[in-house]
């Protein structure tokens, strides 16, 4: 606490991002809609992740609700499995609700 020089926290300690785990951030932009993945951030625990999500991802009035999930808790499908997983659905058009007329009043479907 002396002088006006800017401190250099990295000199005495490792950068915190080295030990802070990664979190995935989900935002609900308005009531009635689902939470949507917006990105990720580093934080020491869930409370800090929520606070950081507020500061990093909701600066421009983006949402009404936040979720944070440890990235390590997400199990993702492998890109190699793309064909067996998704190809079979492509030629089954009868599974798409494309034969119904959607009333113009229905905004979010």
């Amino acid at each position: 606490m002396s002088g006006n020089d800017l401190p250099a926290p990295q000199e005495s300690a490792p950068a915190p991002v080295d030990d802070w785990p990664l979190w995935e951030v989900f935002i609900r932009s308005q009531h009635g809609l689902a939470h949507k993945h917006v990105g990720s951030l580093h934080a020491a625990d869930a409370a800090m992740a929520l606070a950081n999500a507020r500061d990093v991802y909701t600066r421009r009035n983006e949402g009404v609700s936040l979720w944070v999930v440890p990235s390590a808790q997400i199990t993702a499908s492998s890109p190699d499995d793309k064909e067996p997983l998704f190809e079979p659905a492509k030629d089954k058009i009868f599974r798409h609700p494309g034969f119904y007329k959607v009333p113009p009043e229905v905004k979010n479907l």
Binding site: M1, L6, P9, A47, M48, R59
Partner: protein, 245 residues
């Protein structure tokens, strides 16, 4: 209400927010993590917004044609009415958070009190600013607890910062006639002490012993640090008067 008192009180509110905002801005690009860097800049911008409202009202009340910019950029240190606390250097992250926490724990309840003020313009500014101040307090309190109840090193630094800045907290509750015309600062003290005691208990920090409390910031008697802050903050307007983006 006495216009002179209202002018002085507005300067005190605005200058404290402005100087603390400038201090937090020094962290921009130097934060310990990207997330913290952004969060500090957010807080700084919130406080800058408060300063603009208070200083605009001060200029309006004064009635000599000075606007927020002239009050912010064309006054010298002796005319600033901010708390001594907010001009203290950033130091390490513990010092920045101790300064922020002491201020936030006073600032938020003060704004809540002012939201019920008889002067409608003061009440309107306070009601708007209180929402942001509530989040600032939440954040700085979390950091005091994290660092205090963290590693041996973070605890040592947090305690040192809490002790070093403690003497500057007395000024927040010392009221003169201008303060008394607009707020009841003494009434905030028990709540502030209870808030700090509870947080320090969770943070495993020792409450600093009562000490001599320097004052004078609110009367324009500052530490030498304010001059350096203003030199940087005011340089552009001093060197190129009236320059705009």
């Amino acid at each position: 209400m006495d216009a002179e008192a209202l002018f002085t009180f507005n300067l005190r509110m605005g200058d404290s927010a402005l100087v603390l905002s400038q201090r937090l801005g020094e962290w921009c690009g130097h934060g310990p993590a990207l997330e913290e860097d952004l969060a500090l800049a957010n807080t700084a911008l919130d406080l800058l917004g408060h300063a603009r409202l208070w200083l605009s009202l001060a200029g309006e009340v004064e009635g000599r044609g000075r606007d927020e910019d002239q009050l912010a950029f064309l006054r010298d240190a002796g005319e600033f009415r901010n708390l001594l606390l907010v001009e203290q250097p950033n130091g390490d992250y513990a010092a920045t958070m101790a300064r922020q926490y002491y201020y936030d724990a006073w600032h938020h309840p003060l704004l809540q009190q002012l939201a019920g003020a008889a002067e409608p313009r003061v009440a309107a500014i306070a009601a708007k600013a209180a929402k942001e101040a509530a989040y600032h307090l939440h954040r700085s309190r979390e950091w005091v607890i994290r660092l205090g109840d963290g590693t041996e090193e973070s605890h040592r630094r947090m305690q040192a910062a809490a002790d070093e800045l403690w003497p500057f907290t007395g000024e927040m509750f010392a009221a003169d006639d201008a303060d008394r015309a607009c707020a009841d600062l003494a009434a905030l003290r028990p709540g502030w002490q209870a808030e700090v005691a509870a947080t320090f208990a969770r943070a495993t920090l020792t409450l600093p012993a009562s000490a001599w409390m320097p004052q004078g910031g609110k009367q324009g008697v500052h530490t030498e640090k304010l001059g350096y802050i203003l030199a940087e903050m005011q340089f552009l307007q001093r060197a190129y008067p009236g320059e705009r983006w």
